[in-house]
């Protein structure tokens, strides 16, 4: 008996008698003797709760988290403040411990959360149709590729901007190799997708085009223009967005985007070293029946009361099997709950105010860093929450010097010898001034050493 099981010796005896066998061993008779493991698994011995806690805490203490240093790391996940009410709601047993709402009569809470979440994502993106979440950002983009592949089977060429997150580009390649599409990458020019190369790359056989806004380097892309080039060729236009910017950025639904995806972590989810978070997936009406994943829909019960169910399930793997629009089953419902609660918490005015704050502070930070000798903007495009600067000394060494002073200055991009710096509402002007100070001193020392 472990601390999570409850069968006593007396229970076992009674249960075996009811089953009609002599021992638990007999229940495994179907497993051929030569396939049974003849030794205990080679694992550390089980430990009481307090010992496991101590071990996990010790491991946690050997990580430098956003609690321990002043961090400007971003690149797809961001250290936004997660309000306390999210911890409270996501740890409620009623949300935490059920599974997918297969029995809607006892899952109205979860189903209504999905419905509200879909509404919030639809509002953010200005697209009419959203599912109840997919795994995370990069695989969401790849899933949009599968949607395009099924929608236009004859078109096997995908065009993707080099401004899309490198993990998403790589994930798309992995998926596309499987379902059979060629991926062509279009380079950036002054920090944004080169419009001439973009137009040249898109041809009649192009099934989908992929762009990210703001792009990986923080630059705001002219999505409407890029989308127009894709639409003209009859391609599915896929755009990945940072949801936190959609309070102030023109939404994808107004830019000619067919499918909008993105990483939901900025919306009330912890960093968690990369997951779990959620991916969002929204589209135009035309793609409703091609969507991957769960969708909650409104209906009525036998007495006419408003209620919610999983709907349009004939798209899904458990019904359609090899003809399904996706293989996804378990998605990220709890993380999507955090997302919709966060959006309700921010509210209609808050999401605009937050976007405006990030816009102003990010500009301030770029100016402050570029005032340092030898630091140059990697591009001069508008930025909202993140920007890249090039350094006069090797970026990785500079990052180490700053980290030694308790400041993580951002993500090192060794190929460009650039630093990608992210701003959240948790990084004040004083924090940014400290970053500039520490970075300036690190550069001086690094240049002296060199």
């Amino acid at each position: 008996m472990t601390r999570y099981t409850a069968v006593t010796d007396a229970d076992r005896e009674a249960m075996l008698a009811a089953i009609g066998v002599d021992s638990v061993e007999d229940l495994f008779a179907a497993i051929p003797a030569d396939l049974r493991l003849q030794r205990p698994l080679d694992l550390p011995e089980g430990q009481p709760e307090q010992a496991v806690y101590a071990h996990l805490r010790e491991l946690a203490e050997r990580n430098v988290s956003a609690e321990d240093e002043l961090t400007f790391l971003g690149g797809g996940m961001y250290d936004h403040y997660v309000p306390a009410l999210i911890d409270m709601l996501t740890s409620r047993s009623e949300f935490l411990t059920p599974y997918t709402p297969y029995q809607p009569e006892v899952s109205q809470g979860g189903l209504q959360v999905m419905f509200e979440y879909q509404t919030a994502i639809s509002e953010l993106t200005a697209l009419p149709v959203a599912n109840a979440s997919v795994y995370e950002g990069p695989s969401a983009l790849a899933s949009a590729g599968y949607l395009a592949r099924l929608a236009q089977p004859a078109k096997r060429r995908f065009v993707i901007s080099a401004g899309v997150h490198p993990h998403a580009r790589e994930t798309l390649r992995t998926y596309a190799h499987g379902f059979g599409a060629e991926v062509v990458e279009v380079p950036l020019r002054d920090g944004v997708t080169d419009p001439d190369a973009w137009a040249a790359a898109i041809e009649a056989g192009t099934g989908a085009v992929f762009v990210q806004n703001p792009n990986f380097y923080g630059a705001v892309e002219d999505v409407a223009a890029l989308a127009a080039a894709g639409r003209e060729a009859g391609a599915v236009v896929v755009a990945s967005y940072d949801p936190i910017t959609l309070g102030i950025l023109v939404p994808p639904g107004e830019c000619g985007v067919d499918v909008c995806v993105g990483e939901g972590q900025p919306l009330g989810n912890r960093l968690d070293f990369g997951g779990p978070s959620f991916g969002f997936f929204a589209a135009t009406e035309a793609y409703l029946r091609r969507m991957p994943g769960r969708i909650a829909g409104e209906t009525v019960d036998a007495e006419g009361r408003r209620g919610f169910v999983l709907t349009l399930q004939t798209r899904e793997q458990h019904i359609r099997r090899e003809k399904a629009t996706s293989n996804i089953c378990t998605a990220q419902a709890l993380n999507a709950l955090a997302g919709v609660v966060y959006l309700a918490w921010l509210g209609r005015r808050g999401i605009v105010e937050l976007g405006e704050l990030l816009l102003q502070r990010t500009h301030y930070a770029r100016e402050a860093l570029c005032a340092i000798d030898g630091v140059e903007p990697w591009h001069t495009q508008p930025v909202i929450r993140e920007f890249a600067v090039t350094l006069p000394a090797p970026v990785e060494a500079v990052v180490e010097r700053c980290a030694a002073e308790g400041v993580n200055p951002g993500l090192a991009l060794p190929e460009e010898n650039a630093l990608l710096v992210a701003i959240t509402e948790q990084r004040s002007r004083a924090d940014i001034d400290r970053l500039a100070d520490v970075l300036a001193r690190a550069l001086v020392r690094e240049e002296v050493t060199a």
Binding site: M1, V7, G109, E123, P128, L249, P276, T299, I328, S428
Partner: protein, 497 residues
Amino acid sequence: MSVSTETPLQREEIRTIFEKGAPGRRAFVCPELDVPKVDGLLPDRFRRAQPPRLPEVSEPEIVRHYVRLSKRNFDLDSGFYPLGSCTMKHNPRLHERVTALPGHARLHPFQSPKRAQGALELMWNLERALAEISGLPHVSLQPSAGSHGELAGVLLARAYHEDRGQTRTKVLTPDTAHGTNPATVTMAGLEVVKVGTNPDGGVDLDDLRAKATEDVACLMLTNPNTLGVFDPNIREIADIVHGVGAVLYYDGANLNAIMGITRPGDMGFDIVHFNLHKSFTQPHGGGGPGSGPIAVSDRINPYLMNPRIVKREDGTFDLDEHGYEKSIGRLRGFQGNYGCFVRAYAYIRSLGAAGLRDASETAVLNANYLLARLGEVAEHLPLAFGRLCMHEFVLSGAPMKRELGIRTLDLAKRLLDHGHHPPTVYFPLLVDEALLIEPTETETKEALDAFADAVKAILEEAREDPEIARNAPYSTPVRRLDEAGAAKRPVIRQSLD
């Protein structure tokens, strides 16, 4: 005058968060602008004209709204949840506590490996533990859920054959397989070939031999399968599949039956995925998050996803982004669902080898005991295959439907009134009126007895009056819902116009 027995909570008028609040209300207070305001930073053509119509609500309104919604959910912490194939075992709260420690929860995924040594060591240790449990030496924790692990597995099998210059287009899946198996095969650009089931619930060997041809890339198999049957011919199955040069993929959805007892690697499998949210007890979250690591044999190892965790000679850990040139690449961003790794690792450290074996033995004991108790109504709900089961079993409701006039769906709905979550229903597809029941090891004998008694009571009640079950449930926040209407005229977001 009649007295209503309905509680306001259960039957309150439902409004969404978008229909609550009032203009001007807020929960978020934005930090003040502490830098000089500069106009025109975002050109007008990029600027949103109208803000998204998010709710305008105060913090107390948000809390009350979602707490009340939560009470319209059934959950594992409140009651028995024998949802077959989903392994709804208890979620230890220790796991939530340790996952929330800032060193884990606020660790940025782009943190330098030098400053994430605790996380990488945890992932390394978890990889080693999963390798030991599966009997397959190489592990990638990256996939986000079981179906994502399946996609990894089929792409790996494909890459293995492609590297040998072979184009193999077919994947064999038994007709008992989870829907994710065939859906995954199509997504990976291959073709599904179904293999039949023999009268004992295992793979039909003759059918397998006939379909195992030189153009087969792999066989996807769950063992024990979705009927709760361990296929005793597994050696022979492996020999047939390997005989034509194909790869064996083990769907680990049912690993909870065999931890420490037998290992997929020892059975001859090349690739296995784990559902950390099942066997290694993650809270299911109402439909995720999950986590679907895979373990593979030496011959599949060169193709595993990047990045890989490496242990250096000095005992430190690193992330190797591009170490394997033949890698199929990435399947998602960053390193996977780390929060799930922390929980699974805590679970393995809590139980150890003996505890994991005990968990599987108890899961199988509990399932067989519940099967025996339900044997008291076998005339209406017979076991579909065999006499004993592994960690779950399938009953057929066909005689019940014929003789008592209630369907499996009706039984499921009436169970809700008895305070139990129903089993998985109408799966697997090859059993008429199927009920797939998985009690897990964390239930007490009393809970199993109560469930069996409820089933018996419902059947007795149906003998008297089948209408009662046909119209169930009665005690839930809503009655049966019009699913056909929902699909016909989809309303999938709140209208704000």
